[in-house]
Symmetry: C2
Subunit: 253 residues, 2 copies
């Protein structure tokens, strides 16, 4: 099974539907689709929520509502509280990245609640005391107040990336091998002499600079083929010009 299917985002005492909608979109981005509202205290209509959810209204519409925190997490085998503050009950708090793997391991065994507090007051001490795990999102100490849906995003993002369900992008063209890179240097040296950029005796000197650029810039077979094509074409164009209007070396007229 996919452990992300056992992750339940629980929003406690949320005030604004826009944050619920934004949270739904963030959850959908990260492959997490179960939303629970515990004792919601919504101050505005669902119009704003729907606007912010965009195409994640299915997540929002499938939400479950509970009268209390306790009821919303009763069937969960782990309750992960998110907190921005330090304090008595908050000593064993971890960064989300540092506990994402543990949380996913639990989620492979049963439902896991990830709990987010009120926009203005966060989670109450008595709620924090009911959590089996606590996480705090890394923020700059100069501005620690993070938006509710942004907190949901970071936490879900860490679970999603830790789940290994995302394949990081990778260069599609296969890497160039050394022989191809050396051929590239040789053909460029020929071309640079052929077009009069340098004299044959300057080859070693100038090629050091091109080697520096190419060693950083030419990675794939496609890169190497592209730059080989430049050398070929430049020589062709230079030869064509010479044939059309022949000039002898050292001829100034």
């Amino acid at each position: 099974m996919n452990p992300l299917d056992n992750i339940y985002v629980v929003l406690v005492g949320t005030l604004y539907t826009g944050n619920v909608g934004s949270a739904c979109r963030a959850m959908a981005n990260m492959g997490i689709r179960h939303l629970r509202l515990a004792a919601p205290n919504l101050q505005n209509s669902w119009d704003e929520g729907e606007r912010m959810a965009v195409h994640a209204t299915d997540v929002m519409n499938a939400r479950e509502e509970f009268a209390s925190f306790e009821e919303a997490v009763a069937d969960c085998i782990a309750v992960v509280g998110t907190t921005a503050r330090e304090g008595l009950y908050r000593q064993h708090v971890k960064a989300p990245r540092d506990c994402a793997a543990d949380i996913l391991a639990l989620a492979s065994q049963g439902k896991v609640a990830i709990v987010f507090g009120r926009e203005d007051k966060g989670l109450l001490n008595e709620e924090v005391a009911q959590c089996t795990h606590l996480v705090r999102i890394p923020v700059d100490e100069g501005y620690t107040s993070i938006n509710l849906s942004q907190a949901v995003l970071i936490t879900c993002y860490e679970l999603f990336t830790a789940s290994g369900r995302y394949e990081p992008p990778h260069e599609k063209a296969p890497p160039a091998v050394q022989a191809q890179k050396m051929q590239l240097m040789k053909n460029w040296a020929n071309m640079l002499c052929g077009i009069g950029f340098m004299k044959p005796e300057q080859t070693d000197h100038f090629m050091q600079g091109f080697h520096r650029v190419f060693s950083r810039g030419v990675f794939s077979r496609d890169d190497a083929a592209l730059m080989l094509g430049v050398a070929r074409q430049a020589l062709w164009a230079a030869d064509k010009a010479k044939n059309a209007n022949p000039v002898k070396e050292g001829d100034n007229g």
Copy 2:
């Protein structure tokens, strides 16, 4: 210097001030404070932007505006484009976590632009072609459309965490040493016999279970002291009851 001070978030052709405000708050959370708008195409008033920025209006008010993408990044030594799509110019895209260290290294040498496209169309191909680096945020393939300010948050979060400027929370109480843990087991065995939970000959059997619980649950000196206190108090309470109302072992009256 702090490389985050050389990070410039560049929003291109942004439509909604609310996204600008949310982006400012996300940036402030992650210690990044330079905002540039390139050819903004704002469809609503700054009221919404100020509402979403909350206390990060200083970031928003210090924004610089430019008529074009080119002008907004002209003084940057690296231009990191964010893209949700694959395609011709997008082959060498990386996940933000995988290039955060490289970006910070560049930011220690000069200004680095992190560029975010329009809400509806992202970055145009001709803009992507001007980027020196491309990043794509990991998202679930079932719902890849990420909100602009959420994209800003994830990217800034990865730079912030990679900058090492955040000290992850850690357990404040020092870890318990093995001798203290073994004392705990011994005192609990005495107590459990003393309160009649088990008979002395059952000690090995039952203590396996307590060992399992304590080895997972008792980590710090404070944890161990707490559980040692329970053993002491339970024995004291049991002795007191026995003295007040003496019962002989096996006495059923």
